[in-house]
Symmetry: C2
Subunit: 213 residues, 2 copies
């Protein structure tokens, strides 16, 4: 299972690194998962919301279609010059998200990353959540807001704010690898998993997304 | 209040970024806190335990004595060539920690960062904790193990594994800035604060460490 985490200037550090450490931890523990940090154009350095500057592995999709694309948020509420709000209006990342979704990639957002999926027009009449401070904006995009930490709507999975990214990634490991693996990683992180997790009935009917058994 | 987070090759990503985002968040919210990522020699790039490569702001202590030095862990259990176990045996970081402590800097460890404070000889007969997989090694160093997520022993504060670093940093913000600030940051992170927090009686008697009022 190939996972890409799509980063951009002003992205929230923990939105990125929570899922990153969970997925790389699963890989170290033997899961058939490969996780990369990717940017839109393959920019090599990204300066995140709180000032961390870090390296990126390449451009989104440059190794072919990913099975799962993680979309973090950051800087939304403060309307930062760099961040999810800026990318919502610039439109290039939403376009890349739309392309990925059309080619069959599962989308998973952390925090206000959901607004970037909404900007791609993909959350209309779909169950979703986001950071509590952006809920009304997500609703205005046409999404059906669910009061849960993680909302699994099949090919689009959304999560609440920042630290919910850890629970999102553990849920994804549980869904695609198994519960023992997810619980083992949570224990290693000394993280008490939190919900609620909402799984849409359409998502429950679908089995084709169980990529890793 | 000047905070340095001491990073090294193989350091755990979330051990570093949890406290980093909490402290920088407090700074953005108006607290008189300045937080920097520092390395022993001022190396500009650090490759962390799960492969993240990130930039460092400078060398430990290069801007003068910090009020608080955060010591993350990483790679201990797997005896990684780079990480806390390697630094424990190399001895240079423990020596820098000892220097900082002698000059009056408060120490705060996340995860197996406690083993680096132990290597400096500073945890003998002191209340402390660490990642659950390193508890017996910490006990063997002479520390009095306390079963808590955070152990405040006054000028040395230790925390459990990985995600406990978020709770540690929130506790530090609460201790030195105030509870409202800490709760506001936790809410922004959608993080449910977790304990138990153990405060040693000697720490409770001391007020001189309340740097920011």
């Amino acid at each position: 299972m190939r996972i890409e985490i799509l980063v951009f200037p002003g992205v929230d550090e923990l939105d990125v690194l929570g899922p990153f450490e969970v997925f790389r931890g699963a890989e170290e523990a033997g899961a058939d998962i490969r996780t990369q940090l990717v940017s839109l154009d393959g920019d090599q350095h990204i300066k995140a919301s709180y000032g961390l500057t870090f390296d990126v592995d390449g451009a989104v999709g440059s190794d072919g279609r990913a099975d799962l694309l993680v979309i973090p948020g950051g800087g939304w509420v403060k309307r930062a010059t760099h961040g999810a709000w800026a990318e919502f209006h610039r439109g290039l990342i939403p376009a890349a998200i739309l392309d990925a979704h059309r080619s069959g990639t599962i989308l998973a957002s952390v925090c206000t990353g959901a607004m970037l999926i909404a900007a791609a027009g993909l959350l209309r009449n779909r169950s979703a959540t986001t950071h509590h401070a952006a809920i009304e904006e997500l609703r205005a995009s046409g999404a059906e807001i669910v009061s849960a930490r993680i909302v699994d709507d099949g090919d689009i999975i959304t999560a609440g704010g920042v630290t919910s990214g850890i629970d999102l990634a553990l849920y994804i490991v549980e869904r695609f690898v198994g519960k023992d693996m997810a619980d083992g990683i949570a224990s290693n992180l000394e993280h008490e998993r939190r919900g609620p997790i909402h799984v849409s009935s359409s998502a429950r009917r679908s089995d084709e997304t169980r990529i890793v058994s």
